[in-house]
């Protein structure tokens, strides 16, 4: 058939109409939608087949029974649609509602229903609209909303639990710093009083034993102070900035090294890429690592300490190498634990928690620490920090 031009013939226009109607039916079927119209003059309702499908009724169902149609709506939806339709009919107010419909097959579905009035010469002559099955969409939305609410509750619960844990920790730290001090002070003070008040009655051995008592109290006091400083490294108070690692390393070396160290140690610091972190904490990392390297090289003829950085696994490994006495394997395994000398064997002379502080701070920065060492062969202590972009500050990555 030749494509017609101009006004179609009666035969052609009938075919076109049937085709258009068929396409509309298909479109409504696919979109799960239907159209309806209420003609005021005849008080008649017309439904497209899409509406019958949404209601789940046979095509012989009579939509003109308005009350019957409203009854299909869920109890809380029925008055809403009834009122909206009346206002459209009497006042010409359009509506757009999401309601629940009880289909003829018993299934309850979410629908969107839209209605608007048409006026001719100022009088409302018909109300028409669409009804769309949005059940799947609505159920997904409700599911998302309920999951979100659940998630929010979970976050609140976890936050509350964390706050409780922090408060418990504070109480514990307070007990450590406050309540333990009084008996320690008494032991220290009263053993000194014995030494002073009974000086004549005590022999050398008696005085030595009293000195052991007070020395150990002094040690206990400093251990306690260090444990507290480790526990008080507060992740909540970190302030993140870009750090010039080379400048910081050099500055911290000079702050840590004694005059004698400075005169006898051969220090070399390579170019070190910038890092991102809390500068107060990062200074402690360098300070403690240098302090360790300095004490492990004590007694060597030629003391050397070198600092360099190597890219590794999408991050950077900062290495502090020294030619000190090195660590045995037992000691190396415990190097980053508090008071390594307590468990690391007799050769493990680390009586502080400097490296435990390093570990904690580096972990706050999402990094790792480690040590490579052979006894008598010096050691390489390192800390690895993730690349700048890993912290969600990608723009800075070019500086590396």
């Amino acid at each position: 058939m030749k494509a017609s031009k101009g006004r179609p013939s009666r035969q052609e226009s009938g075919d076109e109409l049937a085709k258009a109607y068929r396409l509309l039916e298909e479109a409504q079927d696919i979109a799960r939608t239907g159209g309806w119209e209420y003609d005021v003059a005849s008080a008649k309702i017309y439904w497209t087949t899409g509406v019958y499908r949404i209601y789940g009724v046979e095509f012989d169902f009579d939509p003109n029974d308005l009350d019957r149609c409203i009854e299909f709506y869920a109890p809380e939806s029925a008055p809403i649609i009834s009122q909206a339709f009346q206002r459209a009919l009497e006042l010409g107010e359009p509506y757009d509602l999401e309601l629940q419909l009880n289909r003829a097959d018993g299934k309850t579905i979410w629908i969107k229903t839209v209605g608007r009035a048409t006026r001719e010469n100022g009088k409302i002559v018909r109300v028409s609209g669409d009804i769309i099955d949005i059940d799947e969409l609505k159920r997904s939305q409700l599911e998302v909303a309920s999951l979100n609410a659940k998630l929010e509750r979970l976050v609140l619960e976890r936050t509350a639990r964390l706050e409780r844990a922090n408060k418990d920790l504070d109480v514990f730290l307070h007990a450590l710093s406050h309540d333990l001090k009084a008996p320690m002070r008494a032991i220290a003070g009263f053993s000194r009083m014995i030494a002073e008040d009974y000086a004549d009655a005590l022999d050398t051995e008696g005085r030595r034993k009293l000195t052991v008592v007070s020395d150990n109290i002094t040690l206990l006091d400093s251990m306690l102070a260090e444990i507290l400083s480790l526990a008080r490294i507060d992740t909540a108070k970190t302030e993140w900035t870009r750090i010039d690692m080379r400048a910081m390393a050099v500055a911290m070396y000079h702050e840590t090294a004694s005059q004698e160290d400075a005169a006898t140690v051969d220090l070399s610091v390579c170019a070190l890429p910038n890092a991102y972190g809390d500068s107060t904490l990062m200074r402690k990392v360098w300070g403690n690592l240098f302090s360790r390297a300095l004490s492990s090289t004590l007694g060597r003829d030629k003391r050397t300490i070198s600092v360099q950085a190597e890219p590794e696994n999408d991050g950077l490994k900062y290495v502090i190498a020294d030619n000190g006495q090195g660590y045995s394997q037992t000691c190396r395994d415990r190097l980053f634990l508090p008071f390594a000398h307590l468990s690391g064997g007799p050769d493990c002379s680390i009586g502080d928690i400097g490296l435990a502080v390093v570990k904690r701070i580096v972990e706050i920065h999402l990094g790792r620490v480690g040590a490579e060492s052979e006894e008598g062969q010096g050691s390489r202590l390192w800390f690895w920090l993730p690349g700048l972009h890993s912290y969600g500050h990608g723009g800075d990555a070019d500086e590396r």
Partner: protein
């Protein structure tokens, strides 16, 4: 001791060991002849305001210095501090907080309530003696009372 003798130091300390250490430190430095030691906040306020067993004491004869622990039974150290600073008869008396608490909040509250110094008691005995000596020298010998 006659309760109307003006004392140099009022020591408010509940821990008997700490009190003994403090008294020893003061005596060792020959800092005081007259010292009153009370054991809780209530007793301290009774002494200062001539109540309870100190009824009849002359209130205007305030100690020249009060050494005050913060953690005290009955009436807390901070409450004692507040009461003393709020009363014109005792407000001018220097108060040194001598405590174990290193808590910043305790220190800030003490200073804002009018404490003149805040000393954390050292564990080390020599340091303890030195701290007490310095407090005594400063507040009893160097400081000019108004």
């Amino acid at each position: 001791m006659d309760i109307n003798t003006a004392v140099d130091i009022l020591l408010v300390e509940d821990n008997p060991n700490d009190a003994e250490l403090t008294l020893r430190a003061l005596k060792k430095n020959k800092l005081t002849n007259t010292i009153i030691h009370v054991h809780d906040g209530e007793e301290a306020l009774d002494y200062l305001f001539a109540k309870g067993k100190f009824t009849g004491r002359n209130i205007s004869a305030s100690p020249r210095l009060m050494l005050l622990d913060l953690k005290l039974p009955k009436v807390d150290g901070l409450e004692v501090l507040k009461a003393v600073k709020a009363d014109p008869r005792t407000a001018m008396m220097p108060i040194v907080i001598l405590t174990t608490s290193r808590e910043e909040s305790d220190m800030m509250r003490s200073y804002s309530t009018g404490a003149n110094s805040y000393i954390v008691k050292p564990v080390d005995f020599t340091k303890f003696i030195d701290s007490v000596k310095e407090i005594g020298f400063y507040w009893l010998l160097l400081n000019e009372a108004p």
